[in-house]
Amino acid sequence: MGWWQWLRKNSLLLLILLVGLILYGYRLGLVPAGVYSDEAVVGYNAYSILMTGRDEYGKLFPVYFKFFGTFTPGLFVYVQALVIRLLGLSVFSIRIISIVSMVVIAGLLAWFVYGTKLVKLSLVRELAALLLLISPWAFLQGRVGYETTFALMLLVLGIVLYRKPLWSFLFLSLSTYAGFTERYLAAMIGVLIIGIFYREKNKWKALLMPTGVALFVQIPNFILMFTPAFWVKDSSYTVNFFGQYLSYFSPANLFYRSDYQLQRSIPELAVFYGWMFVPWIVGLYCLWQRRRLPIYQFIIGLLLLSPLPAALGNVNYSTQRALPLLFPSMVIIIVGIEKIITVVKRFYLLPLGVIVLIYSLIMLYRSYFIILPAQRARAWDYGYESLALFIKQHPQTKFVIDNGRSVPYIELLFFLKYPPKRYQADNPPVHQYYSNLSFSGNSMIGNAVVRSIIWREDLCKNVVLVGDPLAISDGQVQEHHLAKVWDVRDPEGTVLLRAFQTTQWQRCQ
């Protein structure tokens, strides 16, 4: 098939992906309001790698990045460094990789469900891409500046290329360098692929080279396995495992309730729309009916394996850690939708589908672009861009910034685009990088020092104290005669951060 024919055949799908790209890019730098600390730390470390070849702690080309003591697999950071090279360090540039990743995942989903004959109608193929792109789970995760979506893209590449074991195992192996969840999931999915599609002995020879390549790619992991950094987010079975595991299949959690963590959810929306419950149930039924077929066994396996890393981690219901569940869940929903279309076969399905689609888009717009920036600004660390600007405008003033409830140092580094070389020189280096799990969040950033406010000492200095209303309460302001010089409020008018000049410091002298 020539490229022109291929283009014509896939024009609608490509159009949907293009529209998805535009939709995901809409107000990317403004919504979510603020840059979450996980985004800032990835962005700044990518910037640091680009400028100096070292991370914020001065480590030369680390495999895992220490960040806040989490030792996150670093492939995403290096990819982001390339993007920053092209677009500069900004909110847009750190989030664009996730957009592209999610659009690619949508294309892969469409290709997978149609290519494996899970669905037979080509229109359903396009619908698969569209529904994934507008699903709340994908929309939220596709507009963040950290590694989860990129890691998922690599994992999904490994899944959809199951017929080409070399590429499949390569991408699965690479995904372990992109995300924590994939570190556990990639091997399990590899075993699943072998167990379902290559169980005959005469097929094992074809797996030798792919397995060798995958293991070769894992050499850095094997070496670092003997360091504490590898096991930082070690998952272990907890008493609550079964309950946590089951929660990822609870219709209430999938179709109604938001993730309880404010930064991980869109207000008033679950990970899928409520109406998707119906095709999901129908899809599960189809899965059960056709469970003897290998491709359906594969989907069942993916469905059961995907929430395992999230359930094993001692964290209640994390839609971020369970992001791999998005792919098999969408497959089930799409299979269910096709079943409904082929069984019902009524003229009103099309207008009903259009109404449901429009309703979903309205609810997504309302929840994501109206309510989220207003109500979740604090959760997304809103306010530090304004603080960075204030600090930049007062280069002669000394600042003490409280870090009791957040990690402001990385926000300031990000928004100030602070020279990494200077930051590495001003702050103590980290020795025995992969063994040093400690993290304090205290930093020197030019004329600002980030640490807890020490009232006994700081009141005797000519400094500006910065903190949230809990760190610097109204009572303390009155008691110590502090003079307000700046504040920042969220879109609802709640004060997030305040800055006060000390006025009694001369008395100490």
Binding site: G243, L246, P251, F277, L284, Y285, W288, R366, P491, E492
Partner: protein, 153 residues
């Protein structure tokens, strides 16, 4: 065949009885009830909309139909909240549900599942003695699920 019909008949009869009891023991008129927290949250969302979208805000947040729809969603999905129940027999219940669909037992499903779901969606799920009108269906589908699994072995 007769045994199955008898079983289905018993399940339907018990379901109807329990539905009646559930309605009789209902705590309040749930679809039209808005808690104080819901009112505050609704007002908060209204304030988040820009002024040029106030009409949309009114339709989505304040209209009685929207409030009822929200309550229906709340009641409906809390019926299927697995987070609060570690039911080790759940897999058999699900398999049994699929087996019932396969055998086209829509009559018994309509009376023992659909009707209680409709009733509980309207009444709400925070019933003083639990959502017992669903128990006959859960028992029946679990039985079917166990039979399906055992027969396969």
């Amino acid at each position: 065949m007769h045994k199955i019909s008898l079983l289905h008949g018993i399940v339907c009869g018990v379901s109807i009885l329990l539905i009646g009891l559930q309605i009789a023991l209902r705590p309040r008129a749930p679809l039209f009830f808005q808690s104080k927290i819901a009112v505050i949250e609704e007002q908060r969302r209204m304030n988040d909309y820009p002024t040029y979208l106030y009409r949309l805000a009114h339709i989505i947040e304040e209209r009685p139909e929207s409030r009822i729809l929200r309550q229906i969603k709340h009641n409906f999905f809390l019926l299927f909240d697995l987070s609060h129940s570690i039911d080790y027999a759940l897999i058999f219940t699900l398999i049994g549900f699929f087996e019932l669909i396969k055998t086209r037992s829509f009559g018994v499903m309509g009376i023992s599942l659909l009707l209680p779901v409709i009733v509980l969606t309207i009444l709400g799920t925070d019933q003083p003695r639990g959502n017992f009108c669903l128990y006959p269906f859960i028992a029946l589908s679990t039985y079917y699920g166990v039979v399906a699994v055992v027969k396969k072995k």
